[in-house]
């Protein structure tokens, strides 16, 4: 008999310290055959297990076009993430998934893409950014606005150069406040967005970050003329099963785990009636 709660065993191949409290774990399947059959699309998530500590939900932060590793970027914030930060290379962890829907892959094809990320919220965006870069001909101009609290909180600085050197990809980095040596832009993400005034013409905006950032980013996007169905975001809720049974991630009749986590602003507006 199969068991949907039985995770794949994964080997922690490499651990990358992104910031003082964010690590990226590069995972490979212990059983190669399982790895070959595992496929996902940007926007989907997984249940990550540290045996003994438990299971928690994280997005798949790597692009499915890059098959060497599955990557999860994890901020140390609670019981399970603390256990994840204790892991060493070579340790075995568990992974269930992929779960949930994906970014609207049909909608974004042939469009300009505007990515707006805040803090660790860049992780799900990164899966799609790399995916778009690897399928460059399918997409037009790519603008990435990314901000964090301080320069030390910026995740993925190690791949900024790779993004910047791509044709028709612009990366705009900002921080809320300066700590240490910083010559870049200083402002909150929504304010920077207003200043940059990207065109809504044939563009899909995709945003992820802290709820308060998303709120003001969406307001700014609406003011810039983005229609509701071309503002896309990923919602976060507490989950246990990931497959619509354990009963905690619903907002009204919608289960974020199986109906989401990716929603358009039009859909989110309807959901927010429930709060």
């Amino acid at each position: 008999m199969k068991n949907i709660y039985l995770p794949y065993l994964m080997v922690v191949k490499n651990i990358i310290q992104e910031t003082f409290d964010v690590k990226t774990l590069q995972l490979v399947f212990k059983n190669e055959e399982e790895g070959k059959n595992f496929s996902f699309l940007p926007g989907q998530f997984c249940e990550f297990s540290v045996f003994g500590a438990g299971e928690a939900t994280f997005c798949l932060a790597s692009s499915p076009t890059r098959k060497e590793f599955i990557e999860c970027s994890i901020k140390k914030i609670g019981k399970i993430t603390n256990a994840i930060h204790e892991l060493k290379e070579g340790d075995i962890v568990g992974l269930r998934g992929p779960y949930g829907n994906t970014f609207p892959m049909d909608l974004i094809k042939g469009k300009n893409l505007l990515f707006i990320g805040g803090g660790i919220g860049i992780a799900p965006l990164r899966s799609l950014i790399d995916y778009c870069i690897d399928n460059r001909a399918d997409y037009k101009q790519i603008e990435i606005i990314y901000g964090a609290r301080t320069p030390q909180d910026l995740v993925y600085t190690r791949i900024f150069d790779e993004w910047k050197k791509q044709q028709n990809v612009n990366l705009h980095i900002t921080v809320d406040r300066i700590v240490g040596d910083w010559k870049g832009h200083v402002d909150f993400v929504p304010t920077y967005l207003k200043e940059l005034k990207p065109s809504a013409e044939n563009t899909v905006a995709i945003t992820c970050g802290p709820p308060i950032m998303i709120k003001f980013v969406v307001e700014a996007l609406v003011a810039l003329g983005f229609p509701d169905d071309r503002i896309i975001s990923s919602l976060e809720m507490k989950m246990k099963c990931g497959v619509g049974k354990c009963g905690r991630c619903n907002i009204g009749k919608t289960y974020v785990c199986k109906d989401g986590p990716i929603f358009s602003y039009g859909e989110i507006k309807n959901l927010m009636r429930e709060f």
């Binding site: 709660y5 003994g52 438990g54 299971e55 340790d91 809720m237 049974k245 009963g247 619903n250 199986k258």
Partner: protein
């Protein structure tokens, strides 16, 4: 087919081949437990304290054990969920609860094989409910005490005798397989049964316009009722634990002293403040009012949206066991008015 059954002898036969479960206990506490003979069962209980869901979604269940440590970890999934089993003496509201849970657990793209396997291995011999409790309101939910849906066979107690009726092929086979335990039913008994049915249905005849209630619930997102109830509710969670349709569970790892590390799934409750608490501290249902609203909206609005019928069977347990007298029926009536 329907015949008089010698229940005691039937059970003697059944236990040779099946695990047989029936209501066991008294008015203080009862649940569906394994029995070896009729004497162990209590078929006079109106309904058990713990709902039948415990046999499909156990209060606590091991999902797998973790052997080895660090780089040598292997997982040993739970095997062979259960033998073929018979549930005897389940009332209509219990069986309805399982039907509703089946929608949640076996629907969608990822069915829960643990639940599915249990459902598949189970034959249900229902029991007509002759004496609804004052907290019962199954009729309002479209279930009635004589409802037979979801059962394979059904028993009705008449004049101290049990009439057994088959409801499908699986049930029909019982009559062939155990011919010695059945005797022909006489006309008098049948008449008595019909009269009994009539009088029970008369007692349990509340009707509620659930469509209208759903419309009102959906329209008034911020219904003052939720605040009112939340002042009384102490979030003990008994309503959800004893609810035959409450589906929620938690997943966590435990290792007993000297035992292997195991991952368990255990019942959880939307009434608990940490149910939706996220690691960063954000809690979308941090307020009691939001949790109360979730419980009632889930049963009488969201469940209908997703599965086309309410997530309630009218068993009345939440009314009977609530320590502060939150009455779901009273709430539905208030919403309606």
């Amino acid at each position: 087919m329907e015949k008089i059954v010698n229940l005691s002898r039937l059970i003697e036969e059944l236990v040779k081949e099946y695990d047989v479960f029936a209501p066991v206990g008294d008015d203080n506490f009862s649940q569906f437990s394994p029995i070896k003979n009729l004497g162990e069962a209590n078929l006079d209980l109106i309904n058990t304290t713990k709902p039948l869901k415990n046999l499909f979604l156990p209060q606590s269940e091991k999902l797998f054990s973790v052997d080895g440590a660090k780089e040598n970890i292997t997982l040993e999934p739970k095997k062979n969920i259960n033998n073929k089993r018979i549930i005897l003496g389940a009332k209509a509201c219990e069986v309805k609860g399982i039907e509703l849970l089946t929608k949640v657990y076996t629907g969608g793209t990822l069915p829960d094989e643990l639940f599915e396997e249990r459902r598949k291995n189970t034959i249900i011999i229902g029991l007509s409910c002759l004496e609804p409790r004052d907290t019962c309101f199954c009729a309002a939910l479209g279930v009635n005490p004589f409802e037979e849906k979801g059962m394979d066979l059904v028993l009705t107690k008449i004049n101290g005798k049990f009439v057994m009726k088959s409801l499908n092929q699986k049930g029909e086979e019982f009559f062939k397989k155990y011919p010695d335990v059945f005797s022909e039913i006489n006309k008098e008994d049948l008449e008595k049964r019909d009269k009994l049915k009539e009088s029970v249905l008369k007692k349990q005849n509340l009707s509620l316009d659930l469509k209208e209630i759903k419309e009102k619930l959906d329209k008034e997102v911020d219904n003052p009722l939720w605040e009112e109830i939340s002042q009384r509710c102490i979030n003990c969670g008994i309503c959800t634990y004893l609810c035959p349709t409450c589906q929620c569970f938690d997943i966590h790892d435990e290792a007993g002293k000297g035992q292997a590390l195991c991952r368990f799934r255990t019942w959880d409750s939307c009434m608990f403040p940490d149910f939706t608490l996220m690691a960063g501290g954000h809690n979308p249902r941090g307020k009691k009012k939001a949790r109360i609203r979730q419980r009632f909206m889930h049963k009488f609005s969201y469940f209908i949206d997703n599965f086309y019928e309410p997530g309630c069977t009218g068993c009345g347990r939440c009314i009977k066991f609530c320590p502060v007298n939150v009455d779901i029926l009273e709430i539905l009536k208030k919403v309606k008015d």
